[in-house]
């Protein structure tokens, strides 16, 4: 069927346009009437069917994305209790001003930022290096790719439970391994920095392979003659990586940085399950914004303030997005025409 339609393709372009012009004053035979009706239906169909096709997505998005987003903003201006969520008492910006003076909020913001940096920067650097290695001609290259993507199939919950055990103080595998080198047992969960590092490694473990594949795909799309001319100019492998691969990957790197930032801002499951409870450690040393939101809403029953936290996360993302956009333009302009 497909080929039959394909052979009919050429007349399609010319055929559709002239028809309305021909149908002027002269008498209409029944056949022409039929044709005209058909062309009306055809035009209605082509005009409205695209909206029909995108309607389900936008309806669901409006109902479960846009409306809740706006309503969260509305709720953040009220006092709302988890116990009777429909009783909303107007308080203006009180929830936001409370947040500004709330040390736990600033602590969570700081933790989110630190964990985000420790989790994202090494992860993307490793992914870049691994993608470079996978880009060589390899035996079993597909095996390596699948193996490195496997952590992506492991859920946050399962991965965190496993890592919490690996990071155990007395019998954890990691302390045992470090002990081989004479390092004393580390209280990973209790320390401020150790806990942040431990939580970050869960993120790194789950996402490095995924980002590796994205970089690898982008590397394979780099035109080969760029490398050819670089090597004719005498560039070493390392120089080619720095001067050809990295500039060609700039849009992809920006993309992964944006996606990772969004992910880091919402970090929730790892700190929730790494310890016990919603506080993110005894001293809140690894409580993130996402976790604080959950604690505020579902442990302290304060949905209004939880909404305010959610909206501050959103504003934060917008600010970060603008900063990235600004940098992307700055870099794009300074290096000339390279499409970003």
């Amino acid at each position: 069927m497909a080929t039959e339609q394909h052979s009919a393709a050429p007349p399609a372009k010319g055929g559709a346009a002239p028809r309305p012009q021909r149908g002027g004053e002269p008498p209409l035979t029944p056949e022409e009437k039929k044709l005209r009706r058909r062309s009306l239906r055809y035009r209605l169909d082509t005009k409205f069917s695209p909206y029909g096709f995108i309607a389900p997505f936008f309806l669901f998005f409006a109902a479960f994305g846009l409306f809740p987003l706006l309503f969260t903003g509305w709720a953040s201006l009220h006092r709302v209790s988890l116990h009777s969520p429909t009783d909303m008492e107007w308080v203006g910006f009180y929830n936001f001003t409370r947040l500004l003076g709330d040390e736990f909020f600033w602590n969570a913001l700081w933790n989110t930022f630190i964990i985000g940096v420790i989790a994202t920067v090494p992860q993307l650097l490793m992914a870049l290096g691994l993608a470079h290695l996978l880009n060589y001609k390899l035996r079993n290259s597909m095996m390596f790719r699948v193996a490195m993507l496997t952590p992506y199939a492991t859920s946050v919950a399962a991965a965190t439970l496993v890592f919490a055990m690996l990071y155990g103080r007395d019998y954890g595998m990691i302390n045992w391994f470090l002990g081989l080198f004479g390092v004393d047992n580390i209280e990973w969960e209790a320390g401020s920095w150790t806990a942040k590092i431990a939580v970050s490694t869960i993120v790194i473990w789950r996402w490095t392979g995924y980002n590796t594949l994205i970089y690898l795909a982008a590397m394979q799309a780099v035109p080969k003659d760029l490398y050819e001319s670089a090597s004719i100019d005498g560039a070493s492998r390392w120089q080619q990586f720095i001067h050809v691969t990295i500039p060609a990957l700039r849009p992809t790197i920006l993309f992964t940085v944006v996606v990772s930032t969004i992910g880091a801002t919402q970090l929730f499951g790892e700190p929730l399950l790494f310890g016990s409870g919603t506080s993110g450690g005894a001293d809140n040393q690894y409580q993130t914004l996402g976790l604080y939101l959950y604690e505020m809403g579902w442990t302290n029953f304060n949905l209004g303030r939880a909404s305010a936290i959610a909206w501050s996360m959103f504003l934060l993302l917008i600010i970060i997005g603008l900063v990235y956009w600004f940098f992307a333009r700055l870099i794009g302009r300074s290096t000339g025409s390279k499409g970003a």
């Binding site: 394909h6 859920s155 919950a157 965190t160 944006v258």
Partner: protein
């Protein structure tokens, strides 16, 4: 025409240039260096590359393998000083306990149903919208596409409070529709299908079907779906993995009475289960279905992520 055919010879010309390194006839070193560099990705990996890749492969797989060792161990065995590096004898016992204390049976059935429904609807709606954005003309198309991309940036935290109010009002707590409905479409899916169909679906094919008198639905059914099938399969697998692992909203909307796998695992991890082996057995049960999917379709999933990335 003759001019364009001359320029067209260049791309094929560059491919053979990369090929000759198979019959390596002791070429002079200068030539070889140029060829090796010029081939870019064709360069052969040295042993160090393999060593590094193998270390990272072990790093990726070890926590999962260790989960199996731990899931088959008792607490005493896990407390040995060189930790266990092999299977113990208590796998069935631990699985049995995890199954009963964490409601794992219900959780698995629920998750298959939830993730399956989400996958079907996401793929269907993403293909329809992706087709419209890729091949059809309509007003405000570019603005709407930007909106789709923009929605990918909105974190789910921004909708939990109103959604919670809604399910409290509707008394949908612990009902599966509470976790299915908000996840029925995905902006990523729309974008993914659009990127695929822009390249894979020839516009003439759609126009030809139109000329033959097919209406839009018939075009979708007879032209778009057959062409889109490989991408639909990949999007389906990616969506299934994401839906299976969905965490934040299910934790809020469901309880241990009627959990998904992630909710059950959370209960297991935060409850007072004294046996570490049981917790690991639960983690194993909740992960194994996806690992099986990965073992079978890993290659396609890798290909799908890489394909989606090129235009990302």
């Amino acid at each position: 025409m003759s001019i364009s055919s001359e320029t067209a010879t260049r791309p094929p010309g560059s491919a053979p240039a990369a090929r000759p390194d198979t019959p390596d006839g002791g070429a002079p070193s200068r030539r070889r260096r140029i060829r090796a560099g010029g081939a870019g990705r064709q360069m052969h990996a040295g042993w160090l590359t393999y060593v590094i890749l193998i270390i990272f492969t072990i790093g990726s797989l070890f926590p999962l393998v260790w989960t199996m060792f731990a899931a088959s161990s008792t607490n005493t065995r896990l407390a040995q000083t060189p930790p266990p590096f092999w299977f113990g004898d208590d796998l069935w016992n631990n699985l049995d306990q995890a199954w009963n204390t964490a409601n794992m049976g219900t959780a698995l059935i629920n998750t298959v149903f939830v993730a399956g429904t989400i996958t079907l609807s996401t793929v269907l709606f993403a293909t329809l919208a992706g087709f419209a954005f890729a091949k059809l003309q309509f007003r405000a198309k570019n603005v709407l596409l930007m909106l789709v991309i923009g929605t990918m940036m909105v974190p789910p935290q921004l909708s939990v409070v109103p959604l919670y109010m809604a399910i409290a009002e509707l008394q949908w707590t612990d009902r599966l529709q509470a976790v299915i409905l908000p996840m029925m479409v995905s902006a990523f899916g729309v974008f993914f299908m659009r990127q695929y169909l822009v390249q894979a679906l020839p516009t003439e094919l759609v126009e030809a079907a139109r000329v033959d008198g097919a209406n839009s639905l018939r075009v979708v059914w007879h032209v778009v779906f057959p062409v889109a099938r490989p991408a639909m399969a990949v999007l389906g697998m990616l969506t299934f993995v994401m839906a299976w692992n969905e965490f934040f909203w299910p934790i809020i909307a469901l309880t241990q009475q009627n959990p998904t796998v992630q909710v059950a695992l959370t209960g297991l991890g935060r409850g007072y289960v004294p046996d570490q082996g049981v917790i690991m057995a639960g983690a194993l049960l909740g992960t194994l279905p996806l690992l099986i999917v990965f073992a079978i379709f890993g290659k396609q999933i890798v290909g799908g992520i890489m394909h989606g990335a090129i235009k990302g």
